[in-house]
Assembly symmetry: D3
Homo-oligomer: 136 residues x 6
């Protein structure tokens, strides 16, 4: 099995707030992340794809193309944006690291030519990250 | 000369907008940073102090104390905050990396016991940082 | 499958010495690590848990709580300690990176509320790390 | 399951060119990597082995020995070399990150005493890496 | 004094060889770096400029513009190139880290609008870097 | 001015204790660092030298030689050692980061051929470091 991984970065704002919780519950569950003014992060995305090596090119897939896909499908949409206010996937979903990984999986799943999406890893900080492998 | 440096981190939102510029000028000068919804960063702060070594303790200053000063004067104020909306120093000043460094210098200058503040470095990302050494 | 990982750090002393080996064998097997005065490392711990996302909070588990568990169960016990001399798990077990990973697994296994412990990774240095996934 | 990983570094030149493609196709597929003068990277290698812990030593394998194996089998051969011009494995194979991982797997597979080779990871840059787990 | 620093990366080949030395002297002085097939690195460039903060924008200089200058004057010229064979500044000058820093200083000195070039730092690897501050 | 910097690493134990302080004062001043069993760190050393570039070699100094000097004068002495118990310079001096930097300066000052020692930086962790420039 050959896996190939490419990183990309985006800097975004978010806050944690669920309309299904009272303000008191939001404050208790989410702590300082519940500040509605928002706070932000330099997110790092690692996208791993799985495939066969082309015997002529030596590539699982063209990494210039993968870089362009990440830019178009994720970075252009998320970078310098407020995730809660500007991204449709977070209108009714809390933009936790877990949910950001799922949303990016959904944005990329059908768009990797000739290889399978294997894992989406999202670092909120160097000390905290989520790994999503798709639904079983 | 002995310098001692301690790092701290904070995650904040901001945007770039000057009331002295027209909306069109703000968009032109600040590009995607002018998005009024805000975006954010994991900032890294490096505070350098200069002083004499105490011959008994071997310390320029007590680093536990310096850590506590950084927490109290900077991290508690900036972390998980929107710099434009919640910090008085950025009510009429654009929170660029340069201005954040100056503001942190102002917060710390008088509060380092027994040593001099030498430099404040602020990383907005690992690829971009400002160094401030105080006014000449 | 969703995995969430949190890092923590601790700085400890240790040495490598087995009472089941002669001094000569200890010196041969462990080299400079056999120095009984001890040496030390800045260890980095990565704890990965696996679970379902709560549809209301968007969390696999409350990361503030996980941070607190790591602090209480591992960092407070190991940080600024001599692993051989002060930790019961290393009284008769050499504190290799492998055995530290197993010991931390044992400390955490029963204490992650609402999620499963998936992996414990311990970095002795950035160039050397062990991954433990529990017993089969 | 216990895995232990060790890193090593080497700095090499390479270019991407397939004799089965025309010059125009090479330029189109490989872009600036097709420059026959070569370009280079600081590669980082992570080698992961799997095994049982020796109850006396606490080791899956002797890491000093693993370090020496990586030096002898990989670093001495690749470091400060031009991969296309000087390594037999890349005489007819494009030295992509994927193919470098496979070649290193082949160099190491039979040479890890008392443990199994689990994974070879090769970073071409911090933002791009390949993982090889051997043939199914 | 306010300094602002921006990083950029380029991946290049080079070798060390002086026509003023005999082949034996080149081999002795430069060791494995004298391999005429070349080897390569992921170089990291840090460019520091010094200036006054514009009171309206909060910028020493427009960092989007600085990024574009680094791309145009350095990265496009050096990235995926063989420094000895393709760059005029290294036709008769050994492309050591020191000389690369001087050459980049020369490329940038006159091209920073409204601020002064303060320092050029070039990392050949994370463990080795040169700092150039211009001629006295 | 041209500066060239090389990094090296060593892993050591230490504790903080002054014979000129009572046990109670040691505990109060040094906190958990006063644990006499010791704790340890992966120290990173950065040594910066200043000099003229040799017009033939392009070197301020031979970096292979500098690496060898750091190994012989510092790493061989400090690595896998207990600084308080095994190093003469810390018999009556607390091995704080500041004092380690001064001690390394003393070990290197007279031993850099053809260049001047400019700065010794010692990182105790990535978040804490001391810079020493020698006596005025």
């Amino acid at each position: 099995m050959m896996l190939i991984t490419r990183r990309a970065d985006f800097s975004s704002s978010h806050f944690y707030w669920s309309d299904r919780l009272s303000p008191e519950e939001n404050a208790r569950v989410f702590g300082k992340c519940a500040n509605r003014n928002g706070h932000g992060h330099n997110y790092t995305l690692e996208v791993t794809v799985r495939g066969e090596i082309d015997p002529v090119t030596g590539f699982v897939l063209d990494l210039k193309e993968l870089k362009e896909i990440l830019r178009r499908e994720v970075v252009d949409a998320y970078d310098h944006r407020h995730l809660n206010l500007e991204l449709p996937e977070f209108r009714h979903t809390v933009p936790t690291t877990e949910n950001i990984a799922i949303a990016i999986w959904g944005r990329l799943r059908e768009r990797i030519p000739g290889a399978s999406l294997h894992r989406v890893r999202v670092y909120e900080t160097p000390d905290l990250f989520a790994d999503y492998y798709g639904e079983a």
